[in-house]
Amino acid sequence: MKHVTKLAIAAVVAGFTASAAMAQELYTPNLSYRTGPFAATGIPLMNGQADYMTMLNARDGGIGGVMVNFDECETGYSTEKGAECYEKTKDKALVTQPWSTGITLQVLPKTNIDEIPILAPGYGFSPMMDGKTFQWAFNTPAGYWDAADMIVQYLEGMESLDGKKIAFLHLDHPYGKEPIPLFEQMAADKGFDLVPIPVGLKEMQNQSAQWLQIRRERPDYVVMWGWGAMNAGAITEAVKTKFPMENMLGVWWAGHDADLRIVGEDGKGYKSISWSFPNPDAPVMADIKTHVVDTGKTQSNAEEMSGVFYSRGIIISAILAEGIRVAQEHTGNAEITAADLRWGLENIDMTEERIAELGLDGMVPPFKTSCSDHTGKSGGWMLEWDGEKFVKVSDHLTPNTDAYTDLVAAKAKEYADANAPWPVNEDCGM
């Protein structure tokens, strides 16, 4: 035991001294998962994130003249490894990108003590949008409750939901349960019938029982909150039971090209709400091609790069880079601290012009964060599988957040009380 711990201490000490000797850099570690059961969905996201940062380093020499060290720490989507990675990186990290609801839940309470911002774009705990309570956590540009609201809005755009039945097929896990409080509230308001159907982690690949229930219940719509193997399982099962695909909608994590390519034409009509969209003609893609792909620095391939998840990875890195840039301009210092980055992430203003400047045309809707709003209400688009790829089928949808600000405040307060003493941002006057 002595020997092992000594070795570990030596290793850690050596690691720290080696990094301290390095030149100035922006250290933005990513808790990636390129191994394990969720790797298929993780790899395109991680590649998109890494490629954007590599491109910035190659094209602009980093951000504000400082190179970005976009290190990856492999978690395999395991919470245990995630916590290990967090401990490993937190001493000099500007940001934590936890990449799983489990790791986010684990890291979230520590952020007030360690004072490192968590960037969880489009995942994590929905009440994180309350920036006053969750000073250090960001689920920019949209949270799960925004997704739930937009899906219901989209359905209402076609017909009244009064008296309709919506089956909510979800992973029986904190992630899948996240939108239930909001769906329940909306079901009461709009008069539709909500049937929650959980899919256990062990049943992801074999959902015959769930689809039997769906056939029995005859819902008008199936809304899916799935991840990893569950999505492919549900989509193939839906095709098998001949459920009308145009009445099946998913959250953004249930819109992975590879899951639908399995069923191809049969999956036509399946929809997924999304705050990102692949645009192969966007200038940023050309820059990535010249600076990253052509120089052989990417781990990705052409097919993956045209997908929804790769482009989402790019957007996530772009949000982070924008936060860093805002912080640099605010402090006048190129080498920012984690606290500066928090200010930066709180003051992102992604206008249409700024999106065009960054070369992200059509890839992300405009949004604006503030100290009280850590989400930014980007809204999103409804994407539809046309048999080969996802296409936009709606205008820019924006969530009606006023309808659930009370719910957010109540849940945020509940969290703060359960974790008392929980410091909140008193300076935020908004």
Partner: protein, 358 residues
């Protein structure tokens, strides 16, 4: 030379039956304890506490609980993780229902609940044996995890279905929750683990331990010499589940900080079973050695390439890690099928005889 036993005379039965009949064992353990209690807290970083020391100690405790049941009493169990879950949820309910309660007391009491559940699931062991019993404990594994998911009262009707450790303090010092410092948590874990280890060593050396071993080696023979099999098996289930339950409470309260039901699913049970088997069934020391190999080694290996400045991607490190740890497990099982504890016992024996082997 180092382990010379010459001159250590025992003049009474009491001295002969002492915990350390050989003085060098006591010195070695004293050194390890001094290192764990004094030197490490003064020198180690938070990373070492959070990713090496605390998990190794907690996993070793869980494996020790399993080892009492499987290694000493011979009842194979595949439900360890579920019993850990019972301890964790019991502790969570106690500290949220009674916030004034001393958290260390709550952790120690939470084992009582898992002991109760353990005895209930141990009743089939009176009629069924071996692999069939393993299946029965597997039922406990699936049923309890299902219960953690469905019984919303257990997680205080939290929307996410997960339990989150609140900030708990003893006399103003935070021992659990995000406000607690790693060193404090380390001391709490070390204290409880040391206490329960001492308890387990003495239980297994004593009368109860002997009835367990007799049951393990041949239950009919044990019954013939007058051992009450029901008592022997159920006490094994009770003590084992108590230790496992405490380790589960420590697992969530002193280390993870949050837990969802599927954390206590079968992969965790297997992990603990591997620690017990590789460390050595029927030994106390083995649990620590096994935990170091299975829990600690991957962490150390993962930091090596970065520390040595070798540029490999983190995914590659992970793949290499799995391969290296896997082959080490096979290697150790080939050179010593009875586990690392037996390996140490052989080394110690050789050291005692050295330099005149016979």
């Amino acid at each position: 030379m180092l382990y010379r036993t010459a001159g250590q005379f025992k003049t009474s039965y009491k001295a002969d039956q002492a915990l350390f009949p050989i003085r060098q064992d006591a010195i070695l353990l004293g050194l390890i304890l001094a290192f764990a209690w004094v030197i490490l807290p003064l020198t180690a970083s938070e990373f070492v506490f959070q990713t090496l020391m605390i998990p190794i100690l907690i996993y070793a405790l869980a494996a020790m609980g399993l080892n009492i049941l499987t290694g000493y009493a011979g009842q194979l169990s595949l439900g360890t993780a579920a019993f850990m879950g019972v301890g964790a949820y019991a502790c969570y309910k106690m500290v949220t229902l009674m916030p004034w309660m001393n958290p260390i007391l709550a952790i120690l009491l939470s084992g009582v609940f898992s002991a109760g559940v353990g005895v209930a699931f141990g009743i089939p062991s009176l009629r069924i044996k071996g692999f069939y019993l393993a299946i029965a404990t597997l039922a406990a594994q699936f049923f309890l995890v299902w219960l953690f998911e469905k019984w919303a009262w257990l997680y205080n009707y939290n929307a996410s279905g997960a339990i989150q450790v609140p900030n708990l303090d003893i006399f103003g010092i935070y021992v659990a929750g995000p406000q607690a410092s790693s060193v404090t948590q380390y001391f709490v874990v070390l204290g409880i683990v040391s206490l329960l280890t001492l308890l387990c060593i003495n239980l297994t050396r004593g009368n109860l331990g002997r009835t367990w071993k007799a049951t393990r080696d041949m239950d009919i023979a044990a019954e013939l010499i007058g051992i009450n099999l029901m008592k022997s098996k159920l006490t094994a289930f009770a003590v084992s589940s108590y230790v496992v339950g405490v380790s589960g409470a420590l697992f969530v309260f002193m280390w993870r900080g949050a837990a969802e039901p599927n954390l206590f699913d079968i992969p965790l049970s297997f992990r603990i079973l591997f620690i017990a088997i590789i460390g050595g069934l029927g030994s106390i020391l083995g649990n620590y050695l096994g935990a170091i190999l299975i829990v600690g080694l991957p962490v150390v290996l993962g930091t090596l390439p970065a520390a040595l400045g070798i540029p490999v991607s983190s995914a590659m490190v992970e793949h290499l890690n799995i391969m290296i740890v896997g082959s080490l497990i096979i290697f150790f099982l080939i050179i010593e099928p009875h586990g690392l504890a037996r390996l140490w016992a052989l080394i110690r024996e050789k050291l005692i005889l050295w330099p005149f082997p016979h």
